[in-house]
């Protein structure tokens, strides 16, 4: 590699680049926002890229971060240079091993994209809570504040660790640094070699366990020596700061980039100083530079080595003139005397004062504050507020900045309009859809500008909380000097609005500065667009003298074969208008980049992009701006005025992107949020929605059964209700005997539909006369939006069908059960949510659900809105997410509470029987509760009991009231994906299933870690490609079903809705009715399979038809009746595995990257399928006595 290569990279890649080159083993596990580092390491290893010693590092995915730390510990103990990459909960799972690794004085570096910890809610975003939580482990902690620094510090940590024998956590801000794209200079391999002393590497190896030189390490120690032994390490920590500084100096000599343990920026005679670490140090540095120009005496200490905290180096960095210090921590320690950096500084200052070593002699006032939790913005305005506060005679201590704390009044006021960004930086915002490729194009623009011009470039990307129809905002800066502004753009000179409907529903121009350019993708031309803009947008355009350009990029994309991807077109417009580069130069560079990006994907893709670029300029027009805003269009309210107060006040603010402005008092204190708020969202993200044809429909309910977003619902009702129906409301005579004068309606919730088309694919009813017309067909939404909205309004007024009158045993019947999971943020066409919705329909009104972290916890519980909802009686699923790894145990806890409280209720009812109606109590205690009618009857009895208890004035009566709901059978569900069930939660799941308790487990098996972006799990099939299995997974999928069947007393089913919906329904009902543990494995097609999601159900069908996913049910209840408990529900395979598999990119990719290996693995996979089928067939043909009986469950 050559010296001084300048490139543009994301923070994660910049770190991984260094870490990969300096290690021999990487033990990895995916967790946001660090996953990219592990993915790249795995990919580079698969591509055969060597480290600086010419070896290809071994990269091994483990089952959890705990496993990764264990494997790292083992590799380190046997002498390999080893690293891992993690964040947040992952780092917490590593804690036990971290103590060991540090206690054994082992050189190693763990690279952490620092992230919040799950407390009142999970957050994937950045702060220092995770690294603060591992301060006690004995790892040194080194912070980076920019992408370049993160790249460099990864080396400095490694070099120092080898010499000091103290392991390091090297951290940088999750997302803000890990995902920022910036220009940087790569460290040359020869410089890396120069920094790493090979003798130290050999010493590390020599300390490894070796039977040729045996010793033991890892003894158990007793009170006589443990304490002394613990103190032996002190000299190593004492000398570490000096070693690191020496390495930093050596690095500076090699590269010209100079670092110190504490870097001070600002006035030599500063009186007010902020102490801070991470990216926000850059914000402070910029602010200090500005304030200095205003004559203010202030400065900032950027802390790099925060542990061990070197008092000597800190005091040396601090100007002697300092009178007031504010220490800012990006974490929170509730109830503490202050956050870690603050307490360190206070201690150092106080000790220095006490022993007379304080420079300047007089004790400065030290205050501490919190900022930036969960990537909360930290802007120059906030930094200034901190400096201003330090002027006060008694500055606020233990303050917060960046929020409005109207509860504890900790927050500092700041002026949001304060803007110090230099004029020579071009600031641009691009608002797009995930699907239109805006982010990809912008990353590409950064590469173009950053790598082929002397300009510097920075990009940061903000994503939506939804997985379908998600909005992205790209914040891009370009300028002649390095750009390290780690905060969002508030004042943009260029705004690209890549979808016209954004300007119709949100304030796109809020961040436009005076004279800014607005580029609008508009179906309306330059002459007519003005009349289609909301009045507020018109007014801002006039007031801010905005230059408006329009292009119908969607048409250009369609005409040039680009489909919905307008990215190249809008990118070309940006270069054409913004002037960041000369137009011709820009276009030639765009084309060069297209060739580079898409060249391998085939010339046709390149040519299409070229055509799009060429067509762009001819279709780009500037709009003459009238003098007056005359539009009657107003931006509609975010939610309906009918929404509950909390939704209007809090949820709507989050939906509108104004959540930052909510005060502390607005938010629930303990993470409790109301259910059922997605219904107010009305996202309107689909261009095409299903339209029902009542005359063709056979009312089978298939469409409703598979709908991932619960937007297709059926009701039957007396015909008389139609008297008040709005015009166009559709209905048909109910297709069934015994229902005279009864109508049926299949209602599509057009505003909530994502347009996936699964309903149309599954519809079996075709027109008898018109080819291609089914009972449900996709049609453009615009024309039917208004009547559709009216129809939904009327449909909602029709009473929900009585559950006791619905046939639960048929797919047709389930369409009449109210979904209590609706309008989630899952991907369009999601393969998981139909199962989740079905669960909510069948058992939701008495279900309590433990949900593992993953896709289902995100579409199920990611704010602002919540899809889990309640019925007209106010009942619905009670849902919670604890963690990723503990979900089975968490759910078992629900069962234990329920069992305990049920027993308590039964006992109290017996005790109070004399004061109540004894027959009622007996009925309640003896009631069967399997069929829905039985449960309805029990509900009525319990209601009677409640009424009677209310009249009793006794402690016992009040106690019984507090647990009386348990007398209606509670349905405990444990829901999660395969990453949880097969990997990280595997041992917990195993234990819980072996408990014999009445819990129901639903595994939404996508055969890959979907939520974190497609990493291999043990559910990933043989031959499929995934991240961490770039060369195809060489091991067959774990047969969790067979493993669990071996317990004998666990109900097990494997289902695939797309292959046999009736079997799915039957299995879920049997599982729930079985009074012991149940496991349902549900095939869930997924966007991570690389399929057209519209064909997801067809792939499910093929998965079953090929024998990859045999449908089974193992019902211990049958065994107790001396029958064979194992039922094989699918017929013998009728298609070859490859006829199913090669429709999916996850398999097909391998046939392109490693054709021979693909063929080989596909052959093996076919053998596995064949052998598995033989086993299943044999099991299905046994008699019941060939399965062992169990005593655990009494039926």
């Amino acid at each position: 590699m050559q010296s001084s290569v300048v490139t543009t990279l994301e923070g994660n890649e910049a770190v991984a680049y260094t870490a990969y080159r300096l290690n021999e083993v990487c033990a990895i596990y995916p967790i946001t926002p660090s996953s990219t580092m592990a993915e790249l390491a795995d990919q580079w290893a698969a591509e055969g890229k060597p480290n600086i010693w010419g070896n290809i590092p071994l990269v091994v995915e483990m089952q959890s971060e705990g496993g990764a730390a264990g494997a790292a510990h083992g590799a380190l103990q046997t002498g390999a240079l080893t690293t891992t990459f993690t964040a947040s909960q992952g780092l917490l799972l590593m804690i036990p091993n971290m103590y060991k690794i540090a206690g054994e004085l082992t050189p190693a570096v763990f690279h952490v994209a620092a992230r919040s910890l799950a407390a009142q809610g999970l957050s994937i975003f950045g702060d220092h809570s995770d690294v603060a939580a591992v301060r006690n482990t004995g790892f040194a902690q080194l912070a980076s504040s920019t992408v370049q620094e993160a790249h460099d510090m990864a080396l400095l940590a490694q070099a120092t660790s080898l010499e000091a024998r103290v392991p390091f956590v090297h951290f940088f801000d999750g997302f803000r640094t890990s995902h920022e794209v910036n220009k940087l200079t790569l460290i040359a391999d020869e410089h890396m070699r120069a920094m790493i002393d090979p003798a130290l590497v050999r010493q590390h190896r020599a300390r490894g366990l070796n039977p040729d030189n045996p010793f033991i390490r890892g003894t158990a120690q007793n009170p006589d020596v443990y304490f002394q032994a613990r103190e032996t390490v002190n000299p190593f920590y004492a000398q570490l700061p000096a070693i690191l500084q020496e390495r930093m100096d050596a690095f500076a000599a090699l590269t010209g980039r100079s670092y110190h343990l504490f870097d001070y920026y600002g006035a030599a005679d500063a009186e007010r100083v902020v102490v801070i670490m991470g990216s926000a140090a850059q914000t402070c540095r910029e602010t200090v530079a500005y304030l200095q120009r205003q004559g203010e005496k202030c400065g900032v200490v950027n802390v790099r080595l925060c542990l061990p905290f070197s008092a000597e180096h800190f005091l040396a960095a601090l100007p002697a003139s300092v009178k007031a210090i504010a220490v800012l921590d990006r974490t929170k320690l509730p109830g503490s005397t202050g956050e870690p950096l603050y307490t360190d500084v206070v201690t150092v200052i106080a000790e220095a004062q006490a022993n007379g070593s304080l420079p300047g002699g007089s004790m400065p006032r030290v205050t501490g504050g919190r900022y930036g939790l969960s990537s909360k913005e930290f802007t120059p305005a906030m930094a200034r507020a901190v400096f201003d506060e330090l002027r006060a005679a008694a500055p606020k201590n233990h303050f917060t900045v960046g929020i409005n704390d109207d509860v504890s009044h900790t927050s500092l006021d700041y002026d949001p309009a304060f803007d110090i960004e230099p004029d020579d930086v071009m600031r641009s915002l691009f608002i797009g859809l995930g699907a239109d490729g805006t982010v990809g194009a912008n990353k590409n623009s950064i590469k173009i500008i950053g790598e082929s011009t002397p300009l510097h470039a920075q990009g940061y990307f903000v994503y939506d909380s939804k997985k379908s129809g998600s909005q992205t905002v790209s914040h891009m800066r370009f300028g002649p000097n390095p750009i390290n502004s780690p905060y969002l753009i508030r004042s943009a000179g260029f705004i690209g609005c890549h979808q016209f409907n954004f300007i119709e529903k949100m304030d796109v121009l809020e961040s436009a500065r005076q004279g800014a350019i607005l580029l609008l993708n508009s179906p309306y031309g330059a002459d007519e667009v003005w009349d289609h803009l909301p009045r507020s947008a018109q007014q801002q355009i006039i007031d801010k003298q905005i230059q408006l350009y329009v292009i119908d990029a969607s048409s250009v994309a369609r005409e040039t074969g680009m489909g919905g991807r307008t990215n190249t077109i809008m990118q070309t417009c940006f270069f054409a208008i913004s002037g960041v580069l000369a137009r011709e130069e820009a276009i030639s560079k765009i084309k060069e980049s297209i060739r580079k990006t898409y060249g391998k994907k085939g010339d046709e893709v390149v040519q299409k992009n070229f055509a799009a670029v060429d067509q762009t300029l001819a279709n780009l027009h500037r709009v003459e701006i009238p003098r007056q805003a005359d539009s009657s269009i107003e931006i509609p309210p975010v939610v309906s005025h009918e929404a509950p107060e909390f939704v209007q006040r809090v949820t709507a603010a989050m939906m509108a992107g104004k959540g930052d402005q909510l005060p502390v008092s607005a938010l629930p204190i303990d993470g409790t949020y109301p259910s059922g708020t997605t219904r107010w969202e009305k996202r309107n993200i689909a261009a095409f929605v299903p339209v029902w044809e009542p005359d063709i429909c056979i009312q089978c309910g298939n469409c409703s059964f598979v709908c991932p977003h619960s937007v297709i619902r059926g009701k039957f009702y007396p015909e008389a209700l139609l008297a008040s129906a709005p015009e166009g409301f559709q209905s048909a005579a109910i297709n069934g005997r015994g229902f005279p004068d009864t109508r049926y309606t299949l209602q599509v919730y057009v505003e909530d539909c994502t347009g996936c088309g699964l309903c149309v694919e599954v519809c079996p009813a075709k027109s008898l006369q018109q080819s291609g017309v089914k009972a449900i067909n996709m049609k453009p939404k615009e024309a039917i939006l208004a009547p559709g909205r009216q129809s939904v309004g009327f449909f909602e007024q029709i009473p929900v069908n009585d559950r006791s009158q619905v046939d639960f045993s048929s797919v047709r019947g389930t369409q009449f059960l109210e979904p209590l999971f609706e309008f989630s943020g899952a991907c369009a066409g999601c393969g998981e949510t139909p199962y989740v919705r079905l669960l909510s329909q069948l058992f939701g009104d008495r279900a309590v659900i433990a949900n593992a972290t993953g896709c289902s916890s995100i579409y199920g519980g990611n704010l602002p809105s919540t899809p889990w909802t309640s019925n007209g009686e106010g009942r619905g699923p009670a849902w919670s997410n604890s963690l990723f790894e503990d979900n089975a145990e968490f759910g078992l806890g629900f069962r234990l509470s329920a069992d305990q409280h049920l027993e308590m209720a039964r006992q109290l009812a017996q005790e109070l029987k004399g004061q109540l109606e004894p027959a009622l109590v007996d009925e309640i205690l003896d009631a069967p509760q399997i069929a829905e009618s039985e449960i309805r009857a029990q509900r009525l009895r319990v209601a009677q009991l409640k009424a009677a208890l209310m009249k009793l004035d006794s402690e016992k009566a009040r106690d019984l009231l507090s647990v009386v709901d348990h007398l209606v059978r509670r349905s405990v569900w444990i829901v999660g994906g395969d990453g949880w069930a097969y990997d990280i939660g595997s041992s917990g799941l195993d234990h819980v299933l072996a408990s014999g308790r009445n819990i129901n487990v639903l595994v939404l098996d996508t055969e890959v870690y979907s939520n974190t972006g497609g990493q291999m799990s043990k559910a990933t099939p043989l031959g499929a490609v995934a991240k961490f299995a770039a060369a195809g997974k060489p091991v067959a999928k774990k047969d969790l079903g067979l493993q669990v069947i071996s317990y004998g007393n666990v109900y097990v089913a494997r289902v695939a809705m797309g292959a046999n919906p009736q079997q799915t329904l039957l299995a879920l009902r049997e599982a729930e009715a079985y009074p012991g543990p149940s496991l349902v494995l549900a095939y869930s097609h997924c966007i991570a399979h690389g399929i057209n999601m519209q064909h997801g159900l067809r792939q499910q069908d093929l998965a079953v038809a090929s024998g990859h996913w045999p449908l089974i049910r193992y019902n211990p209840a049958l065994r107790q009746a001396d029958k064979n408990p194992f039922v094989l529900d699918s017929p013998r395979p009728t298609v070859k595995l490859k006829d199913y598999a090669l429709n999916e990119l996850r398999y097909k990719m391998l046939s392109r990257t490693h054709p021979a290996e693909s063929e080989h693995l596909m052959g093996l996979a076919q053998q596995v399928v064949d052998q598995k089928w033989d086993i299943y067939e044999e099991m299905a043909s046994r008699s019941g006595s060939h399965f062992h009986p169990d005593a655990a469950v009494k039926l």
Partner: protein
Amino acid sequence: MDLTTTYMGLNLKHPVVASASPLSGTLEGMKRLEDGGVAAIVMFSLFEEQIRHDNEAFSHLMESGTQSFAESLSYFPQTDAYDVGPDSYLELVRRAAEDLGIPVIASLNCVTSEGWVQYARQLQEAGAAGLELNIYGVHADLELSGEQVEQGYIDILKTVKSNVAIPVALKLSAFFTAMGHFAKRLDAAGADALVLFNRFFQPDIDINELEVQPTLPLSSAGEIRAPLLWIALLHGHLKASLGATRGVEDSDEVIKYLLAGADVVMTTSALLRNGPDYATRMVEGLRQWMEGRGFESVGQMRGAMSHRNVANPRAFERANYLRVLESFKSQYR
């Protein structure tokens, strides 16, 4: 007995050739064909449109759902080290050319002139002994004249011929108004062989589902008639070799085609139905028939029943049609 023949300049040990089929989709399949006794293999067609479609699908699926959600900004390993376009086909040609002792003729179907040129060159470089251009399409454009369609074929042929040195065959549809004239034009334009005929895409309609069914059943012996007629008519009039295809069930059809004037006889259906070894049985059947008739070489029997050599040439022309009518009448008199 001399069973050798020359087809588009390639010397073959006998005239039975495997035409494009799934059997030639793998190296193993092609080895089985060679072991089964065919004299040459025409590989399954490389379809430019398919490659374009696959590339677009690949690219689309790689990007689908990416850069949308902060936790899952992509779903697959980001690698550039994958095959695109004809890479796997070319690799197959390369390995077949190295491993097989019989000529391997690549088959190509393109939709753009760049495609014809690029892929033809690549196939030559990969070691194909010859190229068969499988020009194929339903000319659904009602403005397109027969002359334009023919000229399109000529242009493609000339383009490919000017870019490769290996022999080039054209596989033709039976649906040309003046097949003989057109064949002469192709011959003049440099075709090294004409293969008569490909199977015209004729979809069915499913009356239950109201859907078009694009099925293509295996050919049957009855389909021999159209190629047989035109081979008989063209034999002796062209420099180009004549390849016969369609309706070859057994050695009888091989014999008929050779008698009509074919240089090689190609079969897919018989090998798919009966296995690759069936080629040997067909050749054996040919040998026995020749022995029974006293033919000493394929060259001797080739064209013995062609339009030029047959006792009653008019039987291949209108008389053929008249006789059918006559027999029809007599049946119901």
